[in-house]
Structures are given as structure tokens and as C-alpha cells.
């Protein structure tokens, strides 16, 4: 039915793949951890839904929930010292797994996410774990309540494995902005995992958990998904309740899903979305059954996406975009054409305006949202007789440099005399962006762009160049400004010296039409053939253990080596 993807980059990978899989994996494994150099990606199978696999196994009692949980926890223990995805790891995972096994024994309803280990970005409130938002100001802060998304996860049977690292309050693109530690990209430990949901993307990529929640204000789910070679889903604004999400920019923030397959991202979204009385901006729109889209490849027609109108945003493949990224996107486009899509280029002239407008709006809202951190209720209070000195001192000591930068920008933009020139003008740009997306989506079913202008870069490379970092958000911020849903999925690799790093492409859909994105994404990844799917797994990653079996002797050897390392 399908030929291979036409991307030369991918074809190259295809050639490399000829080496014996297990052996190869084995050798590079221990090496890569020390040298942080990337080995060749290894083929596995077409991405399957880990969630469905777990559900099937535990219900058929092929495996217990505890066995699955132990596999993930073991891997987490091995990889975490290198990747550092987490700020907190739950101590009750096995107990919760046992509880699900007991429920299965009693033939009780276990929920659609039963036994699924979910990592949660640390700016999403959890009642039984710290929730620091990556900031010193919330060090040791334990909220008295669960965010609605977390509450829904628990009701679906999910096990919260821990809280993942992020740029402080979600402000950043590398996770280097965390007040606690830097997270590494599992594909190459010298590289950033992206951000701000870098911990959530890295945790999924390293198979430390099944799926994870992130938050996306300007691309914070999609860009790290691209950098870490996993699937990232940014739902429509209002699709998922923001109640319990520590606010960065309220009109742009949305909780998103990260997984190793489109199906998992969709199943995760299904369980957390819907109207919530506690969030006045959450939509009352009916939620369709996303999982009904995930039909087996065996039932695909020869051109399963025949007639789908795909618009490639021309502004996103021009100057300033890494040529290898462009090639990967072109490869993905060819693949979509083979699936029957009608692909045309579409110009969004307002595209470049989105970035500055985004930074004005996001900074303005954050300057207000973060004013509650005044040292009176949380964090270390600076002692002074004078009230303004208590506020000033506590904030000066508590916030990191990027957060301060954005608070200052936002406060400036909202100040008397500047409001019209900055905030108001940015709102006008936002309206223009919304209209141009609407017009483009009237004639196209989905729009396509890269998820980021480059693949992951080295840790420290852009740390002291905020403008370069901001520029990296250009592919994603417009989508937040327009409130639209977008799905990022891996489509190739980019070489940086000896390192080879994944990149993803972004599909943008109409508001509240996640269903279409998931359907297209699912067909896309199911038809990639096994050779490209390799990219879903970091080379040294013991994540493959999951896909084979703990009992596999060779894998056990790998395990032992990693352990020794």
C-alpha cells in the first residue's frame, strides 16, 4: 500500500538499520550513557498504544498491574540520574498498582487508564505531592487540592508516577530555567529536551512513564515533544480545564498530552477533557469519542486520507529554519500525499507578527498572575519592617532571571501610557492571527508546519541569549494565540555533529476538532512502516524492554550493564 517516506534523511536511517538489532543496542547502550553520544536508532514496530496494551494485559491477567509498574519504576531508577526528568517521584506507585490488581480480582470496574503510569508536569497541582512549578518560591509547597485534570486521571484509574521538571512557571524552551536542575534529552544527554514541559517529554521518551501531562502556553508541549521524538498534543483552548494549572498566561495556557503514540495521546486527552464548573473558560462543547478514530492498520483503504486538504504554511519553511528540518517536513508531506491528501502551500502573512505579540501578551498576563507570589503565603519571606521591602525582597530572591524578565516586560506593557502601544496592539495582532488561521482552515482541513525551527540544541547553548530562545517559539505561539488544537509527531532526524536528533512536524486543526488531528496522526504513524518508527525510541533507551519482555535474556543483560554503569 505504501512506499517508504521520500525523505533522504529517513532513507539514510533506513540503510543504517541493517545491523543486527539486539547486539547493536547492547553495545551502544552503556557507552552512550557515559559519552552521551547518540547511537543509531533501532527499529521496533509501528507505535502501538501502550495504554491499550496494558489494559488488555491486566484484564486478561497476562500480566499484573504491579509487573508493569515495576518495569517502569526500574527503568526510572536506572535512567533518572542521567535524564533528571522528575522533581518528585511518588512512593505509592506499587501500592496503587496492587489496588488495581485487587479490583481486577474482584471484577470491579478499573477505568480506562487503569495501571497507566502518568507523569504530571510540576505546575499542575496534586494534593499528595509537591507542586513547585519549577520555582524556589513554591519550594515544598503542597496544594490542598488536585487539579481537575489530575482528579480525572485518578478517576480513570491512572497512577501518578511523579512530578516532572519544567522551566520556572513554564517560562522557557529548554527546561534549563528550572530552579532545581537541568533535564537532559534522552536521545543525547548533552542536549536540551526542549521546554517548558521538558521533564514530561523526556520522561515519556525515556519510558519512565507511559504518558505524561504537560502545559502549552506558546509551544511548551509541542516543542519538547519534537525535541524528544514523542507525540505531543496541544488541545483547543478551553478543551481541558485549567483549574489547578499554575497560571502563566491564562488566555493562552492549556494542559496537553504527551505519549509514544497518537493513540495514547488521544486516550489521555479523552480522560482529562470536558467542561468544568471550576473553570469559566472551559468549553461546554460535547466531547466526541477520540478513540473510535484509532482503527487498525489492517482496515485502512489504499488511500485512507483521500480528499483531505492539507495546507503547508509557506512562512514556516523559509529562512531561519534548519534545512534538515525542512527536509524532514517535506518527507512527511510526501507521506501524506501518498496517503491521499491534497497538499497545497498556504501563506499566513501575519505569521511573523505572532511572536512579538505573543511575548507582550504572555508577559503581561504573567506579570499579573505571578503577583500572588509575594512572600506572604508561600516561599521564603524576606524579613523587613517595611511591607514593600518584604514583597520586593521575597520576589527578588524567589524568582529566577527569566521569570523576572517576563514580569518586567509585562508590567511595562500594561503601565499607563504604554498599554495602547503594547498590550492593546498585541491584542489586535491576536485578532488578525485568529482571522488568518480561520480563513486558512476554511479551505484546508489541516495546516502543517515544523514544530520548531531546529532540532534540540546543546545544553547551555542559548541559555544566555533570551532572544534566540524566544525566536525558537515562532512555529508554535500563533496556535496558542488562535486557541487552536495542534498535534506534533516525529517525522525524521537531524544531524548535529555526531549527534542525530529527532524532529517533529506540527498539524494544526480547527477549534475543537482534535478528532480529525488524531485520526490523521494515527494513520500517518501507522503507515510509516517499521523502519522510521525507530525514531520513537532513544537509542540507548531501555524503553525497548517494555516492547519485548523482561524475560528476554538479552535485555536482562542490557539491564545489568546499565545498572553497573
Amino acid at each position: 500500500m505504501l512506499s517508504s517516506v521520500q525523505n533522504p534523511r529517513v532513507l539514510l536511517l533506513h540503510c543504517r538499520r541493517s545491523k543486527p538489532f539486539h547486539h547493536h543496542h547492547h553495545h551502544h547502550h552503556s557507552k552512550s550513557i557515559h559519552a552521551a553520544s547518540l547511537a543509531h536508532p533501532i527499529s521496533a514496530s509501528i507505535p502501538t498504544s501502550q495504554i491499550q496494551t496494558i489494559q488488555k494485559s491486566i484484564l486478561s491477567r497476562e500480566k499484573t498491574t504491579r509487573q508493569f509498574a515495576e518495569e517502569f519504576l526500574n527503568r526510572l531508577r536506572l535512567t533518572e540520574p542521567h535524564v533528571k526528568s522528575f522533581l518528585h517521584v511518588s512512593e505509592t506507585v506499587l501500592n496503587e498498582a496492587d489496588e488495581i490488581d485487587r479490583k481486577i480480582d474482584r471484577n470491579e470496574d478499573i477505568g480506562p487508564l487503569a495501571g497507566v503510569l502518568v507523569a504530571v508536569k510540576d505546575n499542575i497541582c496534586t494534593a499528595d505531592m509537591p507542586s513547585t512549578a519549577g520555582s524556589k518560591l513554591l519550594e515544598n509547597y503542597r496544594p490542598p487540592y488536585d487539579a481537575t485534570a489530575v482528579k480525572k486521571l485518578k478517576e480513570s484509574g491512572a497512577i501518578i508516577v511523579g512530578k516532572t521538571n519544567l522551566d520556572e512557571f513554564g517560562m522557557g524552551s529548554t527546561t534549563e530555567g528550572s530552579a532545581y536542575h537541568v533535564t537532559a534529552n534522552p536521545w543525547n544527554l548533552e542536549y536540551v529536551p526542549g521546554g517548558s514541559s521538558g521533564g514530561s517529554a523526556a520522561a515519556v521518551s525515556a519510558r519512565q512513564c507511559v504518558v505524561s501531562l504537560g502545559s502549552d502556553t506558546g509551544g511548551s508541549v509541542r516543542q519538547p515533544a519534537s525535541f524528544c521524538g514523542v507525540v505531543g498534543l496541544k488541545p483547543t483552548y478551553g478543551r481541558v480545564s485549567r483549574y489547578g494549572l499554575v497560571a502563566y498566561a491564562s488566555s493562552l495556557d492549556v494542559i496537553g498530552c504527551i505519549g509514544t503514540s497518537v493513540a495514547d495521546a488521544g486516550i489521555l486527552l479523552q480522560s482529562i477533557c470536558g467542561h468544568d464548573n471550576l473553570d469559566a473558560t472551559s468549553s461546554k462543547r460535547e466531547v466526541s469519542d477520540f478513540t473510535s478514530q484509532f482503527i487498525s492498520k489492517d482496515y485502512f483503504e489504499s488511500q485512507p486520507l483521500k480528499g483531505l486538504r492539507v495546507g503547508v504554511i509557506s512562512e514556516t519553511l523559509g529562512d531561519g529554519v534548519d534545512q534538515e528540518v525542512v527536509s524532514s517536513i517535506r518527507g512527511a508531506i510526501s507521506h501524506l500525499e501518498e496517503l491521499g491528501c491534497t497538499v497545497t502551500e498556504v501563506s499566513l502573512p501575519s505569521f511573523s507578527l505572532g511572536l512579538p505579540a505573543y511575548f507582550v501578551l504572555a508577559s503581561s498576563e504573567s506579570s499579573s498572575n505571578l503577583s500572588r507570589y509575594d512572600g506572604i503565603r508561600y516561599g521564603n519571606q524576606t524579613v523587613s519592617d517595611e511591607l514593600s521591602a518584604v514583597y520586593g525582597g521575597s520576589r527578588a530572591n524567589g524568582f529566577g532571571p527569566e521569570v523576572k524578565r517576563r514580569i518586567l516586560m509585562g508590567t511595562y506593557a500594561l503601565s499607563a501610557g504604554y498599554y495602547d502601544a503594547y498590550y492593546k496592539r498585541a491584542q489586535q495582532v491576536r485578532t488578525v492571527v485568529q482571522k488568518s488561521f480561520k480563513a486558512a482552515l476554511d479551505v484546508h482541513d489541516i495546516l502543517i508546519s515544523p514544530a520548531a525551527p531546529s532540532a534540540a540544541y546543546k545544553i547551555g547553548e542559548k541559555k544566555n541569549d533570551p532572544l534566540a530562545m524566544y525566536a525558537g517559539d515562532i512555529m508554535t505561539v500563533n496556535v496558542n494565540m488562535a486557541g487552536l488544537p495542534a498535534l506534533v509527531l516525529p517525522c525524521g532526524f537531524v544531524k548535529d555533529g555526531s549527534a542525530s536528533l529527532p524532529v517533529g512536524f506540527q498539524m494544526i486543526g480547527s477549534a475543537f476538532d482534535e478528532e480529525k488531528l488524531l485520526k490523521v496522526g494515527h494513520i500517518f504513524e501507522q503507515t510509516l512502516q517499521d523502519m522510521v518508527v525507530a525514531m520513537y525510541h532513544p537509542p540507548w533507551n531501555p524503553g525497548l524492554l517494555f516492547l519485548t519482555s523482561m524475560a528476554d535474556p538479552l535485555v536482562t543483560v542490557v539491564f545489568a550493564i546499565v545498572k553497573a554503569a
Binding site: 505546575n123 464548573n277 500572588r372 511591607l387 498599554y419
Partner: protein, 502 residues
């Protein structure tokens, strides 16, 4: 519960014209905080005597020959919703500090405000009652400043698009202050959350409506009447310091005029002053607050407030009769302005009056009873009309019984006292005490015969020319009838009997 604050006392001329002797105008913005609670009791405070009121008014009058005071009023109405403005936490006035809090009202990270729909309904009702233009689409904004009692670092309010604008309120000034009709403009009505009071979060985040008037008032009395009318419109239950407000404003007018006359006008600055009841003075509370930049911007956590014509019309149709309409209705009934103001300006009295006159035709009589014996009793006993035991039904029965001659007016007054003190029905009391007037001439004649027979000596004297004794006989007959004999019949028959040739 009333807190009188003066805010924004401006020194710059506000209006282009001036009075004969004044070149400057001062605008006094008076901010009123009022609280409505179900558990409140009626005002029992005695107003200052008319003498001091008059003296004060005269002193201000003198100042106002040289100056024109320009007064605008900002009023915060706390709603008696059972939940707070932006969360579903129960709100009970006077409850234990911090006993009714949730992540939302604590401003915890991740918490979001959700608007209580009752607040919108109240705002629409108030906007309509104040003859405002309603914004079918309004929004919320954040007003940002740091303060220990402001957990989020901003207050949710409405800035450039309030829910209601451009209204007015009609007032009839009390007759003792010269009377007269005034119309005061309403600039805007908007919704906001109450900034927390101190660190007592339990009472914070309560829904508020803020009403801003045009600077249309010129004296303390006008300001107080504006406030009183507002109270009647929104039925604020326990605001009892209108006289304090009036005194405070008059003090402020005098103080500013004095400073100006002594060439110290630069000491008149924009500030918040507090009225001290003990010393009868205003004192500085906060200065320089006008300089703050609140960096207002649209509240992204709350959607726009969209009102449909249908919704507004539904509320308009359900509005109760407004005090101004009530006053005009009473006026058309032929009542004097004195009666109108007394009956219409207390919603409970008005309700009582309307219920009383539902069954009888003599409106003036009902007004007289309420304003006379009943008002006197309420004043002596310090009770409100809702606290006396008399019901409007019984008052109309009582008036009916007197008019029909069933009981005498004298007995009516006695019964009234008992009804107010102990309750019961007019009919029951008349029967129980056997108070029905004797109107049967035969029966009266029998009593007269008996009295005459028992007093032969007095009869002889009468017939001997001492006709003044008629009063003695009448008294005896009334006594014998236990006060029930119809006085007219009694006298008519008595004279006939006394003068009869035997």
C-alpha cells in the same frame, strides 16, 4: 456597619461656572461601605435633635454663600448572596475567620475565579432600578496592587465597560430641610470582588456592586438623602448612619472652606479621610492613592458577561415598585408630602400601609392611624413596624369597625394598643370584652331609666334648673353601659327623658 470615607477630594476647579463669591470648587467624593445581612436589626439610633441639625445646616449655609461644594458618592453594596462572588464557597456574615475558604478565595496557585450568576442578576436589577443603560456585553478586568489582604495581588473588577451606566435617582428632600425634588446622576454601576478585609479571608471575596454617582450633590443633606434613597432601592438593611454621613460632609465643607479662607488651600489634597464619630471630625486616613497605576487589563479567567434583551426584560418585569414610583402613587392618592415621605420612605411601613388600604376606602384615615398612634407607639417602644403585633388586616378591621359604628373611636384606640402589644383580632377583642357599641334606643332607654331612677335627688336638682347635671347623668349612663352606649343616641334620649314631664 457604615463606614464613611472621603476619597478623592480634588482641589482643581471642576465646573466652569462659579457662585458669586467663589472662584474654586471642591469635589468631595464620599465612599460609603454598606453591608446587608439577614440578621440585622432595625435602626434604633436616635437622630440628633432638630436644633443641632438646624444649627449645623445654618453654619454650612453660611459657608455655601462663598463656596459651592460639589459632592459625588461612591457606594459599595455588599450582596447577600449565599455564596461568594467568584467561587462557590458559602458566605456567612460574622462566621469564624477563615472558616469558609477554598482554593479560589485563598488565591492559591492554580485556582480560578468562577462568577456567581446571582451577582449578575443583582447588578442588572440595580442598573434598571437606577434608570441606567445596561451594557449587553461587559467584561471583567484586573486591578493590580500589592496589599496584604489581597491574596492574588489583584482585584477582579470592571474597568472600562461596566455593566450599567448613565442612570439617575430621584429624591424628595425632607420638609424640615426645605423639601424639594432632586435628580442625581448615576455615572456607573459595576461588579467587583470585595478586597479582603485585613487578613480575615473568610469575609473577603464577597460580591460587591459599586455605584458611582455624578458629582451632583451640594450639601450633606443632599448626600445623605441620596444615600438613603439608594438604601431604599437596594434594601440595604442596617445602614444607619445617614446623619453621620451628612454631618461628616458638612464638617468637610466647613474645613475646606476654612483652609481656603486662611490661604492654606494647598493643604486640601486628594486623600481618604475617615469620619470620627466621637470627636465629630474627619481625619486623614490615606494620601496619594490617586497616583497609583493599577495596570488594568481584561481578566482572562472570566468570559465576557453577555446579557440578552430577553433576560433583561424578564428582570425588568419582576422588579418591585421603586420608592420614587411609590411616592408619586401616594401623592396621587391625595396624601400630603409629609404623609408621603413618612409612608413611602420605609419599605416596611409602605408595605403595611398598602396592605391596610387594600380593604378600606378611607386612605387618609389609615395614614393618620399609622402616622399617629402607631408611629408614637413604635417610637416609645423602639420597635419597627414589623415587630409590633398588629397586622395590617386588623388595622383595616379596626378602622372599619369604627366607621360602621360597631365600636367607638375611644374604644378603638384602646383596642389598638392591645393589638400592638399582644396581638389578636379586632373581632375577638370586641367579643371577648363585650365592647360592641349599644345602638339600640330601647336598650339605652332602659339604662337611662335605671340611672334616673337611682338618682332622684339629682333629677330634682336638674329639673329645678341645674341643667349642668346633664353631664353627670350622661357619665353615669356611659359607666353603666361600660362605655358601650352610642354617645349620640345616649344624649338624645337622655335629654328627652330629663325634660319629660312626669
Amino acid at each position: 456597619m457604615a463606614l464613611t470615607l472621603f476619597r478623592g477630594i480634588q482641589t482643581r476647579p471642576l465646573l466652569p461656572y462659579s457662585t458669586a463669591f467663589s472662584a474654586r470648587k471642591h469635589v468631595i467624593f464620599c465612599s460609603m461601605q454598606s453591608t446587608q445581612t439577614e440578621a440585622s436589626t432595625r435602626s434604633k439610633q436616635q437622630a440628633p435633635s432638630n436644633f443641632t441639625e438646624t444649627a449645623r445646616a445654618k453654619a454650612v449655609e453660611k459657608v455655601l454663600k462663598d463656596f459651592e461644594a460639589i459632592i459625588g458618592i461612591e457606594t459599595h453594596v455588599q450582596l447577600s448572596t449565599t455564596t461568594k462572588a467568584f467561587c462557590s464557597c458559602a458566605y456567612n456574615y460574622g462566621s469564624q475567620p477563615n472558616s469558609c475558604v477554598c482554593p479560589v478565595c485563598m488565591g492559591l496557585p492554580g485556582a480560578l475565579p468562577v462568577l456567581n450568576s446571582k451577582v449578575i442578576k443583582c447588578a442588572v436589577m440595580l442598573g434598571l432600578a437606577l434608570n441606567c443603560k445596561l451594557s449587553l456585553s461587559s467584561k471583567f478586568d484586573r486591578k493590580q496592587y500589592f496589599y496584604p489582604d489581597l491574596p492574588k495581588g489583584y482585584q477582579i473588577s470592571q474597568f472600562d465597560i461596566p455593566i450599567a451606566t448613565n442612570g439617575f435617582i430621584d429624591v424628595d428632600l425632607p420638609l424640615e430641610f426645605g423639601g424639594g425634588h432632586r435628580r442625581f446622576g448615576i455615572t456607573r454601576v459595576h461588579m467587583e470582588e470585595d478586597a479582603g478585609k485585613l487578613l480575615h479571608t473568610g469575609s473577603g471575596r464577597v460580591p460587591l456592586l459599586e455605584i458611582v454617582s455624578e458629582p451632583d450633590m451640594r450639601t450633606g443633606i443632599e448626600a445623605a438623602e441620596y444615600a438613603a434613597e439608594l438604601q431604599r432601592v437596594v434594601e440595604i438593611k442596617n445602614l444607619n448612619s445617614f446623619s453621620a454621613m451628612s454631618r461628616a460632609i458638612d464638617f468637610e465643607i466647613a474645613r475646606q472652606a476654612e483652609l481656603y479662607n486662611q490661604a492654606q488651600a494647598d493643604e486640601i489634597v486628594q486623600e481618604t479621610r475617615l469620619w470620627e464619630e466621637g470627636s465629630q471630625k474627619t481625619v486623614t486616613m490615606r494620601k496619594k492613592e490617586g497616583l497609583a497605576d493599577y495596570r488594568y487589563f481584561p481578566e482572562p479567567d472570566l468570559p465576557e458577561v453577555i446579557l440578552t434583551e430577553e433576560y433583561v426584560n424578564g428582570i425588568r418585569d419582576s422588579l418591585p415598585e421603586l420608592p420614587e414610583m411609590k411616592r408619586r402613587r401616594y401623592e396621587q392618592m391625595g396624601l400630603t408630602m409629609q404623609d408621603v415621605l413618612f409612608l413611602a420612605n420605609d419599605v416596611n411601613v409602605a408595605e403595611f400601609f398598602d396592605a391596610t388600604i387594600a380593604n378600606i376606602s378611607d386612605i387618609k384615615l389609615a395614614a393618620n392611624w399609622i402616622m399617629g398612634d402607631i408611629a408614637a407607639y413604635m417610637k416609645n417602644e423602639k420597635l419597627s413596624i414589623n415587630e409590633i403585633k398588629l397586622s395590617p388586616q386588623e388595622l383595616s378591621d379596626l378602622i372599619g369597625s369604627i366607621k360602621s359604628g360597631t365600636i367607638s373611636g375611644k374604644i378603638g384606640k384602646e383596642i389598638l394598643l392591645e393589638l400592638m402589644e399582644k396581638g389578636g383580632t379586632v373581632k375577638g377583642l370586641i367579643e371577648e370584652k363585650d365592647l360592641v357599641q349599644i345602638v339600640d334606643p330601647d336598650e339605652i332607654e332602659k339604662i337611662i331609666d335605671k340611672v334616673i331612677a337611682n338618682n332622684p335627688k339629682q333629677l330634682e336638682q336638674y329639673r329645678g334648673g341645674k341643667t349642668k347635671l346633664q353631664g353627670f347623668f350622661a357619665g353615669q349612663v356611659m359607666k353603666e353601659s361600660k362605655g358601650k352606649a352610642n354617645p349620640g343616641l345616649l344624649n338624645k334620649i337622655l335629654v328627652e327623658k330629663l325634660n319629660a314631664k312626669s
